[in-house]
């Protein structure tokens, strides 16, 4: 610690340069953490789902519906415990461009199927009782200032017209992967306004035994193979994963971008450290003359780089963690549960260590190996 003032004094030699180098490391690690968190959030979303829940969609594609009449047949399939269904609504609120998802659901069976969507019992009962009622996620309250009992009018895009719902409940997801800015309303209400077409967007099936998932999915699909709307049934996890893959190979893209940013900053940092070391050739020679060993000088230069890398890591990684958590960021509902994980912070710390070693080693070795006589002759 007695060398600390020497390290700090050298960092203060060019305060602006030190500040900019530290800021570039912080920015690189902030971006790295952000891009990495996109990947981890998508992965978490893809892995979300109970092993006991299956999703059955139209085999032609998810945009095609299934007959509502399938529900009774599904309930009779051996091993099936419960069935619910939902439709994508795709509406818009006022002239706002803020996106949020709306689903028409069978209220009772849907809330029973998803205990992760938690809301007070009185609000739940109020929602179940009223055909035009809706429940909303906590984030929509923050975004639009909606409150219980308020009538909310949504403009339909797939189902044209103004659709007015009364907010009867505000839910809080118990699992962060579940979006907290959805609006759920009665499927019956949708059916009624559309004059009972009898369509469901997809079915969610709860089974007794997760080990029977493949067999039950096969039975379900076999049952409707020759019907007008064949089904494609799989686990909820596979269903969610299929959405993640709709983004393409996001993991590879984000990972590549993250490491490209880090590499660019590595070059900036290394150049700054080399410049700093070159300017101090004479001083290093003086320190060697005083009796500073090669090892001590190596350590001092590495400590300087470490101070920059550590400060950058704390600001960049800590900043990402605090910023996304405090703003409850979810990319407009596309990345629910967006939170910088401990693993990402650890990986970021590893990247900071790599930056430290890669940018600090060369100037540190140069300082340690500097021949005093030649160095003094060079500056005289």
């Amino acid at each position: 610690m007695k060398f600390l003032h020497l390290v700090l004094a050298n960092l203060r030699r060019h305060p602006l340069r030190t500040l900019l180098t530290t800021a570039s490391v912080a920015l690189a690690l902030f971006l790295f953490a952000s891009l990495r968190t996109v990947v981890t959030t998508l992965q978490a979303a893809a892995q979300f789902g109970s092993a006991r829940r299956l999703v059955s969609t139209n085999a032609t594609g998810i945009v095609f519906t299934l007959p509502l009449g399938y529900v009774n047949k599904l309930r009779t399939v051996p091993g099936v415990e419960a069935v619910t269904w939902a439709n994508w609504f795709g509406g818009r609120y006022g002239d706002t461009k803020r996106f949020f998802a709306q689903f028409a659901v069978d209220p009772e069976s849907y809330l029973e199927m998803y205990p992760e969507i938690a809301l007070p019992e009185d609000q739940k009962q109020a929602f179940l009782r009223e055909r035009s009622a809706a429940i909303i996620g906590r984030r929509l309250v923050d975004a639009f200032g909606w409150r219980l009992g308020q009538d909310v009018t949504i403009q339909g895009t797939i189902f044209p017209g103004d659709w007015t719902f009364t907010v009867r409940g505000i839910y809080t997801p118990t699992d962060p992967v579940i979006n907290d800015d959805m609006l759920l309303f009665h499927h019956d209400y949708l059916e009624e306004r559309l004059h009972n077409p009898g369509d469901a967007g997809w079915y969610v099936i709860r089974i007794h035994d997760a080990n029977q998932a493949a067999a039950i999915a096969k039975t379900v699909d076999g049952q409707f193979r020759n019907s007008s709307a064949a089904t494609k049934t799989g686990t909820e996890q596979a269903f969610n994963a299929s959405f993640a893959t709709m983004w393409g190979n996001v993991s590879l893209l984000m990972g590549t971008m993250g490491f490209a940013v880090v590499f660019a900053i590595l070059l900036v940092t290394a150049k700054a450290r080399m410049m700093s070391a070159r300017e101090r050739t004479a001083e290093v020679a003086v320190l060697k003359t005083i009796g500073f060993s090669d090892r001590t000088l190596f350590g001092l230069v590495m400590l300087e780089t470490a101070a920059i890398a550590l400060t950058g890591a704390v600001v960049g990684l800590g900043g990402a963690k605090i910023l996304y958590r405090s703003t409850n960021f979810n990319a407009g509902g596309f990345l629910p549960g967006f939170d910088v994980t401990g693993a990402t912070l650890a990986l970021g710390a590893g990247v900071a260590l790599f930056l430290l070693l890669a940018s600090g080693l060369v100037p540190a070795i140069q300082a340690a190996r500097l021949p005093v006589v030649q160095a003094l002759r060079r500056v005289e």
Partner: protein, 229 residues
């Protein structure tokens, strides 16, 4: 008794295909407690000799002993702590670290010792007091005159109480007044504190301050005479 023993030392440099001989068979003793000035024209090998004695450079052949230690055969790892303990070095210029105050510059050699903070503080204050700069402790080199900078460098050279103080053209960049102050300080260090001093200089006044003057020319010791105290 000789503090520095230089025995049959050769030193040469290779510059491309050319081999430049600096010394051939140089033998010299520097007694303990002496104040010796080494004079000679540029290229005569004065600074090279100083670097050899400080262990900053190695002789091509021969032996150099300082206080009984064979400097010329030490490894770099052994030389660093040895220098910290036995050598105080003052250059003509670029002595001080510009980012440190006078106090912190003088503290540098003590950072390599096991002294406590309090003990370091006492020594620094004494050293800066000896060179008459105890009122400039918090000043940075840019806030000091050239003479004051050299005096801080001398304070740094003596603060760890080294066996030998080496100075390479310490008055080369100073005006007459500052030069006289520095030389008076060196005489005091030698007379009052019994420091062994070896100074390389072009300056006749600097040589006059010394008790012994050696003349080097083309790597050969051509004259040696004592100066009355």
């Amino acid at each position: 008794m000789a503090l520095v023993e230089i025995r049959d030392v050769d030193k040469s440099f290779q510059r491309g295909a050319e081999r430049i001989e600096i010394f051939t068979g140089l033998t010299l003793d520097i007694p303990e407690g002496s104040f010796t000035a080494l004079m000679g024209p540029s290229g005569s090998g004065k600074s090279t000799l100083l670097n050899l004695v400080a262990g900053l450079d190695r002789p091509t052949r021969g032996a150099i002993r300082v206080a009984g230690a064979e400097v010329s055969s030490m490894t770099p790892g052994q030389l660093a702590p040895w220098r910290a303990r036995h050598i105080g070095f003052v250059f003509q210029q670029l002595n001080l670290l510009p980012v440190l105050t006078a106090y912190q510059n003088v503290e540098l050699p003590l950072l390599l010792t096991r002294l406590s903070r309090k003990e370091r503080d006492q020594r620094i204050r004494i050293a800066l007091g000896v060179v008459g700069l105890d009122d400039r402790m918090a000043h940075y080199p840019r806030q000091l005159s050239g003479g004051q900078e050299q005096r801080v460098a001398i304070a740094r050279a003596i603060v760890a109480d080294p066996t030998l103080v080496l100075l390479d053209e310490p008055t080369g960049q100073l005006d007459a007044r500052s030069s006289a102050d520095v030389l008076q300080l060196l005489r005091r260090l030698n007379g009052e504190f019994a420091k062994t001093i070896l100074i390389v200089t072009h300056d006749a006044h600097a040589a006059e301050a010394a008790r012994t003057v050696l003349h080097l020319d083309k790597g050969t010791l051509i004259e040696r005479h004592g100066v009355p105290a």
